[in-house]
Amino acid sequence: MKKTNRSNVVVPRNSPRSFYGDGIPGVNPDELVGKLIVVEGADGSGRSTQIASLVEWLETSGHATVQVGLKRSTLVSEELERAQNGNILSRTTLSLFYATDFADQLENIILPSLKAGFIVIADRYIYTLMARDIVRGMDMAWLRNLYGIALKPDAVFYLAIEPNELVQRNLAKTATLDYWESGMDLGLSRDLFDSFVEYQTLMESAFRKLQRTYGFSIVNGTRAVDEVNAELKKKISAVLAG
C-alpha cells in the first residue's frame, strides 16, 4: 500500500490578488487561482538553472507549471529581435516594444494559466524591463503607469551577483559579453569589459531602488546552486501553503 503522505499533493492556498494599477480591462483578479513566481537576475546569475530545477521539483510535487520570459510573445518577439539587432530603436520605442511583448504574454499565457490553476514561472518580469529603462533615464512615474497592467506576483526572487563575478560567469559560458547585457547602447565605455561592469553596477542599483518599492526578496546568487535552490524551494513552499 502506498503511503498517503507520498501521493498527497498540496493544493495551494488562495491569496488576495491585485494588479499594480488598473490591470487588464475585463479581468477579475480573484479568478486567478494559480501562483505567479518570478525569478529576476542578470544573465549569468543562474536564473535558467534555478528555474529548470524548480520546474522539476514543482511538477514531481504535482503542480502544473508554465514558463514565460522576455521577448517570447507571438505578437512582437521576432520584430523586437530584428530591431535590436539593427540597434535602431530609441529608448521610448524600445521600452514600449518590450511592454507590448510583456502585455501579449500576460494576456495570452500568464492570466489564462493562472485562471486554470497553473503555477507560472516567469524568467524575468517587469522589474528587469523597468531597471533597464531607469538606467536609460526613463521617468519612474511613466514606467509605473505603463506597468500598471501587470499582476502582482506571489513571489519575486532577485538573484544578486556582483558584477565582477557576473563577468567571470558570462565569459566562462560564452567567451564573450553580450552587447545589450553590457549596455553598449549607453556609450558608457567603448571597451566591452568596462562597459559590462559599469552597466551591471547601474542595473544592480536600479534593482535595489525597485526593491524598495516592490519589495521582492534578494537572494544571494553567489552561493552553490544547491544552496540557492534550497532557499528558493523553502520560500516557494511557504507561498504555496498560503
Binding site: 505578437l75 521610448t92 516594444f97 502585455a103 505603463l146 497592467i149
Partner: protein, 254 residues
C-alpha cells in the same frame, strides 16, 4: 521628459507641429495633403508623418491585426510604440531643425480609440506623456452620417479592428463600425476644449475647408521663418537598365 501639456513652441523648439484629427471619412487626410502641397510650393521645410506608419513596428501591427491577436491593451501599446518610433527618430530631430511637421493623427487618436476599447484614460494619457502638444490641432468635424457614408457607400470590406469588431458591438461589421465611430466621436468632442482643437466644419466643400486651414496656419505660424535655405536634395538618379548581353552557348554536340 514629461512635457505633456506644453506645445513645441512653448518648449522652445524652432519647428512647429500641426496635427489633424477626425473620424475615418472626415476628409482630414485630404486636407493635410493639400496643406502639405501648399507649404512645399511656398518653399517651406515641411515633413509629413502618418499614424501607424513606422516601418519597424508595421510588421508586428499587421500580423497582430491579420491574425486578430490584439487585445485593447496590446492594440494600444503597439500603436504607442509606432508613435514613439516616429516621434524619436523623425519628429524630434526635424522639429529641432526648424521644420513644419504635419501629422495625420496624433496622440488624441489613441486617447479616443483606446478608451472606447476599454483602456483606462489615465493609463493611455500617461503612456503618451513623453510627447509634447501640437502647436495647432485641426479637428475635422463632419456629421456622423456624412463620415459613415463616405466610408460605407462603396460597401468596402471593413477590416476587423477598423470596424471595432473586437468590441463585439454587433455581429454586423457595418453596424459595428457605426456604433464604434459614434463612440470615438463622443470621445473627441469631450477632449476638444482641453486640447484646444481648432474645429473645421468638414461638411463644407474641400476648397472652402482648405482655404480656412491655409489661412489659420499662416496666421498662427510665421511661415517666413521656415523657408528652406539649403536646396532640396536631388532625386536619386534613375538607373538605366544595363544591356544584358546573352551569350549563346554553342551546342557542343553539333
Amino acid at each position: 521628459m514629461i512635457q505633456a501639456m506644453k506645445t513645441f513652441a512653448q518648449l522652445g523648439f524652432p519647428g512647429r507641429l500641426v496635427a489633424v484629427e477626425g473620424l475615418d471619412g472626415s476628409g482630414k487626410s485630404t486636407q493635410i495633403y493639400l496643406l502639405k502641397r501648399w507649404l512645399e510650393a511656398e518653399g517651406i521645410k515641411v515633413y509629413f508623418s502618418e499614424w501607424n506608419s513606422s516601418e519597424l513596428v508595421k510588421s508586428a501591427t499587421s500580423k497582430g491585426k491579420k491574425r486578430e491577436l490584439l487585445s485593447p491593451t496590446t492594440f494600444s501599446l503597439i500603436h504607442a510604440t509606432d508613435f514613439a518610433d516616429r516621434y524619436e527618430r523623425h519628429l524630434l530631430p526635424l522639429l529641432r531643425a526648424g521644420y513644419v511637421v504635419l501629422c495625420d493623427r496624433y496622440a488624441f487618436t489613441a486617447y479616443a480609440r483606446d478608451v472606447v476599447r476599454g483602456c483606462p484614460p489615465e493609463w493611455v494619457r500617461g503612456i503618451y506623456n513623453f510627447a509634447a502638444q501640437p502647436d495647432l490641432t485641426f479637428f475635422f468635424k463632419a456629421d456622423l452620417e456624412v463620415s459613415l457614408n463616405r466610408i460605407l457607400d462603396g460597401r468596402p470590406k471593413l477590416k476587423f479592428f477598423e470596424a471595432g469588431m473586437d468590441l463585439r458591438l454587433s455581429p454586423d461589421p457595418y453596424e459595428s463600425f457605426r456604433i464604434f465611430q459614434g463612440r470615438i466621436l463622443d470621445q473627441y468632442l469631450a477632449m476638444s476644449a482641453e486640447f484646444n482643437f481648432t474645429i473645421i466644419d468638414a461638411n463644407k466643400r474641400i476648397e472652402a475647408q482648405q482655404s480656412i486651414v491655409r489661412k489659420l496656419v499662416s496666421e498662427r505660424i510665421d511661415l517666413d521663418e521656415f523657408r528652406r535655405t539649403s536646396p532640396l536634395p536631388l532625386p536619386p538618379p534613375v538607373r538605366r537598365k544595363e544591356k544584358v548581353v546573352v551569350e549563346v552557348e554553342e551546342d557542343s554536340a553539333a
